[in-house]
Symmetry: C2
Subunit: 300 residues, 2 copies
Amino acid sequence: MKVTILGCHSASPHENKNPTAQLLDIKAHRFLIDCGEGTQVQLRKAKVSFVHIKHVFISHLHGDHFYGLPGLISSFRLLGREAPLHIYGPKGIKEVITLLLKLAHSWTNFPLHFHELTAQDSEVIFEDEHVSVRTIPLKHRVYTNGFLFSEKLGNRRLNKDALADYAIDKSQFSLLQAGKDVTDETGTIIQNAALTLDPHKPKKYAFCSDTAYDPSIVPLIQGVDLLYHEATFLQQHAHLAAKTGHSTAQEAAAIAKEAAVGKLILGHYSSRYKDLTPFILEAQEIFPQIILAADGAVVS
Amino acid sequence: MKVTILGCHSASPHENKNPTAQLLDIKAHRFLIDCGEGTQVQLRKAKVSFVHIKHVFISHLHGDHFYGLPGLISSFRLLGREAPLHIYGPKGIKEVITLLLKLAHSWTNFPLHFHELTAQDSEVIFEDEHVSVRTIPLKHRVYTNGFLFSEKLGNRRLNKDALADYAIDKSQFSLLQAGKDVTDETGTIIQNAALTLDPHKPKKYAFCSDTAYDPSIVPLIQGVDLLYHEATFLQQHAHLAAKTGHSTAQEAAAIAKEAAVGKLILGHYSSRYKDLTPFILEAQEIFPQIILAADGAVVS
């Protein structure tokens, strides 16, 4: 599981300060999370192949979280994309993208599927054999969802050292991975546990931007390996956070602590702060495992 | 008169290859012409104060010419803008900007005036005592206008050398500038021509992007000081130009020659060309005064 920070600044884009966008590599998937203006340039800088992005999750319809999406869709078209694209986001996203395509007298030459979100409670919005994605309802000025990405328990893993001691035909490996016992060349049944290791522990990533401090999300994100939680302000500007529906570094850390997450990534910094060091200091007073998001950074 | 090229590449933005946007300083005005994704970052790089932009002219509703506009409007709002903003562009631009603002639950805290264009013939869309702007109907895949920016004849200029020989009170200078005769301290009438110089010759700038080769625009742009004409392709790809409603460097030069313009700026290069030198060589075979647009370049 790998998170690439494409942009981690709030509001207006500046040179080297991009609005929110992240790329999540999880199992066989490459998910795009939010898509502020300039995201496609950030994807190119990160040398990400556009064609592998099949699912885009948009938290809310403020410009700094989705004004890069129309251009990205245009570029997909120009690049001759044929693979379907799935877009998950608040109701209204279909209307605006459809209107933009209509005004340009163009339609995509690939299937474009909108999954418009309206639920107030957490819901599963994507699921396959590898991964599930559910919404994390957030408290912001407009309808906003964070997203919880959960790996599913994988297959049992072949224990190569143990296998060396038995005469097991390779054709039976898939049975072993599925947890079944197998028979060796002499006809003896070998217990699965003797030949396999437990699957890797499934990983979870929670993306929470934008949101006011809201402890009601804690049960949803309990114990995730990695949490991105916005920290637009420092505590000295807590009144601005409260007024604008954002969080402080201290508040983000408090959520991380209460949810006992593995690590906390901070981001969505207000442009008023030239030096970001105080964010890490403020958060570490509450929760030690802090990562400051930076445009282009990769968190594994 | 000064043109700042904010972006001069076609289609998808790349690092250091921005889609179309230009800033025109003409008399007291600072006009933004087209606004591809990333324009606000380009404006910041060019150290342009956002507040001085009061009029935005959008040629057509393809993404590479206006997907930077919603973000720019958002930034104006965040920066506390109060001055009115006028947006000139094809019908539909009001609907899409209004929808984006509605979805974000925000409205601008400054007056936003839309001037939607539908005319097939050239029309004056802005005029004051200094400047007029009229459309140049272009031939593209969607409804598209270029824009002709014309300075008006200014005041007569005070001839400081001549004034030194007369006893003329400063209170009469505005009469002189308006072309009136004045009276010196002895009561003698002094002819205006003795004290003033002709006004500067008014300048004209024509912006033509995107368009197929279309000689019908020549009468409109006849004799302009500076012409920007798109040159998406080289002549070797004339079939692509014809197919996509674009021009070649040779075609742009032919228009410049026929209209007897002062200088021709080429731009809107297709990303297939790594080296742009052939554009200047191809165009100069037809018309000598060629400038290759480059992001960040200033043409005075």
